[in-house]
């Protein structure tokens, strides 16, 4: 099982390699972005102290979600392309199990670094919101959001990594298109197809663990349950696990069976 060890070694090497000032600066901006926006919104004239806590919670989900997706797009989708561009692909691919080690190692590294960013962003955002609005249970909100964003990193990371192996030249563009179509469009459809999206399951988990996260009160809860159902958390977790496993499986299959050709060769 050379590739299992290889995956962890690749992850460790990747994390050390990418610890550049530029990356740290980008990550810091991503960490600060949601809390700064929240602070600005709360400080805006006409809003001060008037914004319902549910709106703030929704903003946290939206902003940290955006940052998490962006971080994963930056880290996970170029898993093959960056090596081909850097001409280092052949060094890795000429190792036994090197392709799989590269795929999984970079997946682990992207999940790890993106979760650090989103966790720090959630922490700061909850602190900011707690200062300006009355959050009922800030610790619970922080814990639930942290877990949800951890799961988001694991599942979206797998999806973007798979996209990176299939559409290696346009991975990031396809990744953005996937998010727009799947999580913005399809996830809002009150139909079976909506249940195939990651966002639906993450949202259901948030609702199950926190009660309700969004504005609209009890009527909104009733409407949501009518249209989207009220699945048990184990069902959501199982679906998310299957999605992750499927994407990693497909990604692994693609990376070992595809001939990646460098610019020089093509």
């Amino acid at each position: 099982m050379n590739w299992i060890q290889g995956s962890f070694r690749t992850c460790s090497f990747e994390l050390r390699r990418s610890l550049t000032n530029q990356r740290i600066a980008v990550s810091a901006v991503m960490v600060l972005f949601p809390s700064v926006i929240l602070g600005l919104v709360h400080a805006a004239p006409g809003v001060q102290g008037e914004m319902p806590v549910e709106v703030s919670q929704m903003l946290i989900l939206l902003l940290v979600g955006l940052v998490t997706i962006l971080s994963l797009l930056l880290w996970a989708t170029p898993n093959v392309h960056s090596e081909l561009e850097g001409k280092s692909w052949v060094f890795i691919a000429s190792r036994p199990g090197g392709r799989v080690s590269n795929f999984l190692g970079k997946y682990f590294a992207s999940v790890y670094s993106s979760f650090i960013v989103s966790w720090a962003a959630v922490t700061l955002s909850v602190l900011v919101v707690n200062q300006v609005a009355e959050v009922r249970d800030p610790l619970k909100l922080w814990s639930v959001l942290s877990i949800i964003f951890l799961i988001a990193c694991v599942v979206y990371g797998a999806i973007f990594s798979m996209i990176g192996t299939i559409f290696y030249r346009r991975g990031m563009v396809i990744g953005v298109a996937y998010v727009l179509v799947s999580d913005v469009l399809v996830a809002n459809l009150p139909a079976i197809i909506g249940k195939l999206t990651v966002r639906y399951h993450l949202q259901s988990l948030g609702i199950a663990w926190m009660g309700w996260l969004f504005p609209g009160g009890e009527e909104a809860v009733r409407n949501y349950n009518t249209y989207f159902g009220k699945p048990e958390p184990w069902f959501n977790l199982t679906c998310l696990f299957v999605m992750m496993a499927l994407c990693l499986g497909v990604g692994t299959f693609v990376i070992v069976s595809r001939q990646y050709i460098t610019k020089d060769e093509s």
């Binding site: 050379n2 060890q5 290889g6 070694r9 690749t10 090497f13 050390r16 390699r17 610890l19 550049t20 850097g86 001409k87 280092s88 052949v90 060094f91 890795i92 691919a93 000429s94 190792r95 036994p96 199990g97 090197g98 392709r99 080690s101 070992v256 001939q259 050709i261 460098t262 020089d264 060769e265 093509s266």
Partner: protein, 314 residues
């Protein structure tokens, strides 16, 4: 060790390798061909990084495309540049050795030994952005050798090395071959590879044009049009003599140097010493322009197509 049967590789409509069949036993081989001749494609086919469009490839008796485990027995030093500016040579080599399945302690020991072997021990803890081209080349060689493979494949290994570095690299590869291990060196410069005394594989336009021992290749070279430059004590007299004895097909005089074009090296090699001795002309310097390959390949291509009878192809 390596067997290619009627292997063709197409990149869309472009031919990378064209109907190559060969069987290589363990030993030292020089894969020679101009840039873009298909050397790297052939190496990638051997390594199982590419799948042949037509034909079969066998490495140690197995299909390398389906058995990546075989790569444990191979060390590859590609022509590609390394782009890990922040990492040290040691970190990079250790990481790549560990991908062969070695634990951290073994990876450390092997990386250090290999970096010492290539003469990079002093600099191994410096970030690679501070490495010269020659140092990066050595680091690449270290990562290929560190796991002690049976077969070492080197693609343009002498690029960027100074003369001392080239000498050291050649000695190192001699040592390697002496231990009974195999080497394939791909290059577009004949004399770089020649010192390893390998069997040659000459490839151009994706086709294997000739193969054989150094002496056989020299025979072909000897009967191939080429250009010499000769610096002598009396260039004008030498020019007259060369024309008189029908050794040259064209001559240019540039100060002390004669640029001699000939349809056959052999005529000059066999006749020149005699006429120089007889006429008391001193030769200071003679070089057979290392463009020998440039002239060799078109000739081989003509032979391959049956357009000329010169040379012998195996």
């Amino acid at each position: 060790m390596i067997e290619l049967s009627s292997v063709t590789k197409l990149y869309g409509t472009v031919i990378g390798v064209n109907d190559i069949s060969l069987s290589l036993e363990p030993g030292t081989y020089g894969l020679l061909g101009p840039n873009g001749s298909g050397k790297t494609t052939m190496i990638n086919l051997i390594l199982g990084q590419l799948r042949p469009t037509i034909g079969t490839v066998r490495l140690f008796g197995t299909n390398p495309w389906t058995k990546s485990r075989l790569l444990r027995r191979i060390g590859l030093c590609p022509a590609n540049e390394v782009h890990y500016p922040r990492m040290t040579g040691y970190d990079w080599v250790k990481y790549l050795v560990q991908l062969h399945g070695f634990n951290s302690a073994d990876g450390h020991a092997r990386a250090v030994t290999a970096l010492e072997q290539v003469g990079l021990a002093e600099h191994m803890n410096r970030p690679m952005r501070n490495y010269s081209l020659g140092m990066r080349q050595r680091a690449k060689l270290a990562q290929a050798m560190a796991h002690e493979p049976e077969l070492l494949i080197l693609d343009e290994p002498f690029n960027g090395l100074d003369p001392v570095g080239r000498r050291q690299m050649t000695d190192l590869l001699h040592e390697w071959a002496k231990q009974g291990r195999s080497i394939i060196v791909a290059s577009h410069i004949l004399h770089e590879v020649e010192e390893l005394n390998p069997s040659f594989l000459l490839i151009s336009g994706g086709r294997l044009l000739a193969s054989g021992a150094p002496s056989e290749i020299h025979e072909i070279l000897a009967d191939t049009p080429s250009t010499f430059s000769v610096r002598s004590s009396d260039p004008r007299a030498l020019a007259e003599l060369l024309i008189k004895h029908d050794m040259a097909d064209g001559i240019e005089i540039d100060g002390e140097t004669l640029i001699v074009s000939t349809e056959s090296d052999l005529r000059i090699q066999s006749g020149l010493p005699e006429i120089v001795m007889e006429n008391g002309i001193v030769i200071y310097e003679m070089s057979s322009g290392d463009d020998s390959l440039k002239t060799l390949f078109p000739t081989l291509m003509q032979i391959h197509r049956g357009e000329t009878r010169k040379g012998t192809l195996k």
